[in-house]
Amino acid sequence: MVALLGARSAAAEPDADVTGVARDESEPGDPARRFANVLLYVPRATTEIVFITTGTAAGLIEEEQVVPRIDDMLNPDEGEVRIFPTAFMETGSSFNVGARVIGRADGVATTARVGYGGAHDQVAESRLRLGFRAPLPVALSLEALHDERSSIGYLGLGQEPERDSRNRFRPGAPSRSASYRELRERFIFGAGLRPAADTELFASSSLTRRHLFDPPSAADTLSEVFEPGSVPGSSALVQTAYSELALRVDTRETRAGPAPGFLFEGYAGRGAGVGASSHEFVRAGGRVAGFFQLLHPGNVLSPKLVLDGLETLEGPIPFVELPRQPDFRGFDTRRDYVSAVASLDYRWAIARYVAARAFADVATVAPRVDALSLDALRYDAGFGFDLYSRTAPLGSVAVSGGPDGAKLILYFGVSSSFGDRQHRS
């Protein structure tokens, strides 16, 4: 008897398995693999959660460029709304979980997010951006932020706060490092214009209310570390209205991978106290960076200099308004009226969408520009990897180290230090 194959056949029953397999095969080592998988479950699940919950979502809307280029606007993604859970952890704060909703339609992008990390660590934010492509690319943005952080460090003014006579430490203070709790509300309205392919002009106004408190459970409060009344703005409500004009010229083809070009950014703005806050200041600064190709496309050496300054028109200026150093990739712990950060980065593409990065930063602060000196410079250096798409950075992992300690920098999506300039102040 000859049994011809294929003579017997059948359509699958609904929901049936088509394989006809009653029991899967087992290969040598399968039990060991299963056992290893149990052990690897936690790191695997953690990676999944971290991925889902990070700033990848933020990258969809919080692009470094404020005003989209024309070709970006010609190809908008079709209407979409996405909801992402979020989670992050920062040194010195509790684990924060929440959600972000992002909506995009032709010319309009909106995002809202909430996060909860404990009774005094919360954030809620909403942003709306409208884009117009003709006759020139224009973007209008409106955002509202409410957040509370339970423990923010403050060392005092100057490059070496412990030796700076402007800081009046209390005798017998438990520490030379204070911390405070901040409740912040901020509204920003911005209008951006791209008059040329590489040039962005941006005008923005913000109103920020900061309530400063002692942290809920810490001994090193501002009032414990510093003489009462010696730190302007401490334990008070600080309200500031601030308006700024910024210009950015960036000739790089993309800000995603290593690309040669030139970057200049300058800004100037005026801030004034609102209500009981009676301060007034002018803020100005800029950054300049060159991106030079070394031997091959994809190898870029980039020196950068960032200067920020604040001039008092009417004082005293609350310490929370003084320039910080977000460009310094070590610990951003210094504040003063003038800040300078210089850095040197070398990025080289190692695969199509992955680049390695080696970097070094030096930073200093001073009460005036002419007081800036090379004495007691703070420095750090590091190494990491960047991941990017054709048009946008997607993530970065880096380790930096210096005399203050080592730091792991990890983000997916666009770093929170990007966005328009006001987000960096």
């Binding site: 194959l5 087992s26 056992f35 990676t47 993604d77 083809e253």
Partner: protein, 495 residues
């Protein structure tokens, strides 16, 4: 602690043996019946940043932390074939019949209505069927149009669903040439078919399609796309290449899965104007680790010389481990059995059909037509040789009483010589233990007859391992047999 480690050791050692799969005593499924009516599912959005983060960041890390081996494909039947489904619907390969079956909708008919949508042109014919018009770039004549025409037919000949692609003359559509693509040649791609639903997820089934039950990464149809991409020199799979569409009236239709964008095939995607913006670093040459260590300064320069500005860029040489520009999860999980399945289908396409398909491209240069034909044949033979060597490429032809008759696809295709070939035949129980001493047999006229001895078992696995030039194949072919009175019946096949 000692006891715990001992237990672990026993667990690991206990799992050191091989135990074959066991098949149900049931006819093989030849139709997956995944076309039951459903409501129109939602459209899948594509967010590039999310996609890139997923393929380059999340998945490599998660995969590195997953010790399980990749499972056997879940969309194959007991005979190790892919049943007809909304993913795979093979046509007859006799040239005349193939052409009839390919022309499901045929080219646009009658006068058409033209819509220009963001630089692309869509025509709707007198029957209401939509077609996308494609032309050649001015500097690349006979590239995109020829690639689309040829690749569409070859992909369909392999059994995948892909939009029909047809030559069109503007005058026959009632259109002036200036109304559509700025090109001397136009082709019409039958798209959209039904309601477009966006990219096919590369990992998971749609949660709003009850017909979609197998994880996509474990579908042989998707895993084997890596072999198809190598044959047709497609540099990308993923969201640009695989899309879903709802076919039918609302509530009465179902989702189909299409391979699209085939104007990039045959190397056309590597030619300038049809390529989307590249990364700032350009195509990065060299090994990633070497680039890292040498700070990128010793990176090899892109291969010199201007690339051919025609389909001569489609070379006869192919690396069987074809690398895609972006990782594609099903291809990363491609098993030898999956690669073998597609290679087998590829080698079955008659040369006459390939000739007729290439002639459809209407090259003005006969030398170019010959070049493409030669490259297609050389590439499929290279790929088939590679994948046939990864398994024992035998198929069960019939069972005659207690004799299993099998044929070797590599011998049939002339890729291996019978004089260099032997087979080790083993008889296993369902627990993997040998039931009889193994034998070595030789093929006769491309076939192998294996007498199965009387064994005191109801379920027997005949394991054939090809031995070519003295070296055994990495994987055996298994025929799972069950006693059926004095005879045997075939329950399943594995490669």
């Amino acid at each position: 602690m000692g006891r715990w480690l001992t237990g672990l050791f026993v667990l690991v050692v206990a799992g050191c043996g091989y135990r074959p799969a066991r098949f149900h005593d049931a006819p093989p499924v030849t139709d997956a019946r995944d076309d039951r009516p459903i409501a129109i599912p939602r459209k899948t959005a594509f967010v590039e940043a999310f996609y890139m983060s997923d393929v380059f960041l999340r998945r490599p890390v998660v995969d590195a932390l997953d010790a399980e081996r990749f499972p056997y494909a879940r969309d194959v039947n007991a005979l190790d074939e892919v049943p007809r489904s909304s993913w795979y619907s093979p046509l007859a390969l006799e040239p005349g019949v193939f052409e009839q079956q390919y022309a499901s909708d045929g080219p646009p008919r009658g006068r058409v209505r033209l819509e220009a949508r963001g630089g692309s042109f869509v025509v709707t014919d007198a029957r209401g069927k939509a077609y996308r018009l494609i032309g050649d770039h001015a500097s690349l004549p006979e590239v995109d149009t020829a690639a689309a025409l040829i690749a569409s037919r070859l992909v369909r000949a392999l059994g995948y669903l892909t939009p029909e692609t047809w030559w069109v003359e503007p005058a026959a559509l009632g259109l002036p040439r200036s109304a559509g693509p700025k090109s001397d040649r136009w082709v019409a791609v039958r798209w959209p078919v039904g309601v477009p639903l966006g990219p096919t997820d590369m990992t998971y089934p749609r949660d709003d399609d009850p017909n979609d039950r197998v994880p996509h990464r474990d579908r042989r149809t998707l895993r084997a796309l890596g072999v198809l991409a190598a044959w047709l020199d497609l540099r990308e799979l993923g969201p640009s290449r695989l899309v879903d569409a709802y076919d039918g009236l609302p509530g009465r239709g179902h989702v189909k899965h299409f391979v699209v964008g085939l104007h990039d095939a045959l190397g056309a995607g590597s030619l300038g104007p049809s390529t989307p913006r590249r990364s700032a670093a350009g195509p990065v040459e060299g090994d990633a680790l070497a680039n890292l260590v040498t700070l990128g300064l010793a990176r090899p320069r892109p291969s010199g010389g201007e690339p051919a500005q025609s389909l001569r860029v489609f070379r006869a040489q192919v690396d069987a481990r074809h690398r895609l520009a972006h990782p594609y999860e099903p291809v990363d999980r491609l098993l030898p059995s999956d690669g073998y399945w597609l290679a087998k289908r590829m080698i079955r396409i008659p040369p006459k059909l390939i000739e007729r398909i290439v002639r459809e491209a209407r090259f003005t240069d006969p030398g170019l037509e010959h070049h493409v034909l030669h490259a297609l044949d050389a590439r499929r033979r290279t790929l088939a040789s590679y994948w046939f060597a990864r398994v024992t490429p035998c198929e069960v032809d019939s069972l005659s009483g207690r004799t299993l008759v099998s044929s070797d696809v590599a011998l049939k295709a002339g890729l291996e010589s019978p004089t260099d070939t032997r087979y080790r035949v083993a008889f296993l129980g369902e627990d993997g233990k040998e039931l009889a001493p193994p034998r070595t047999l030789q093929p006769a006229e491309g076939e192998l007859e294996v007498p199965v001895p009387e064994l005191d078992r109801d379920y027997v696995v005949v394991q054939l391992t090809a031995i070519r030039r003295g070296a055994p194949a990495p994987r055996a072919m298994e025929a799972h047999l069950k006693a059926d009175g004095p005879n045997l019946k075939l329950l399943g096949v594995r490669h």
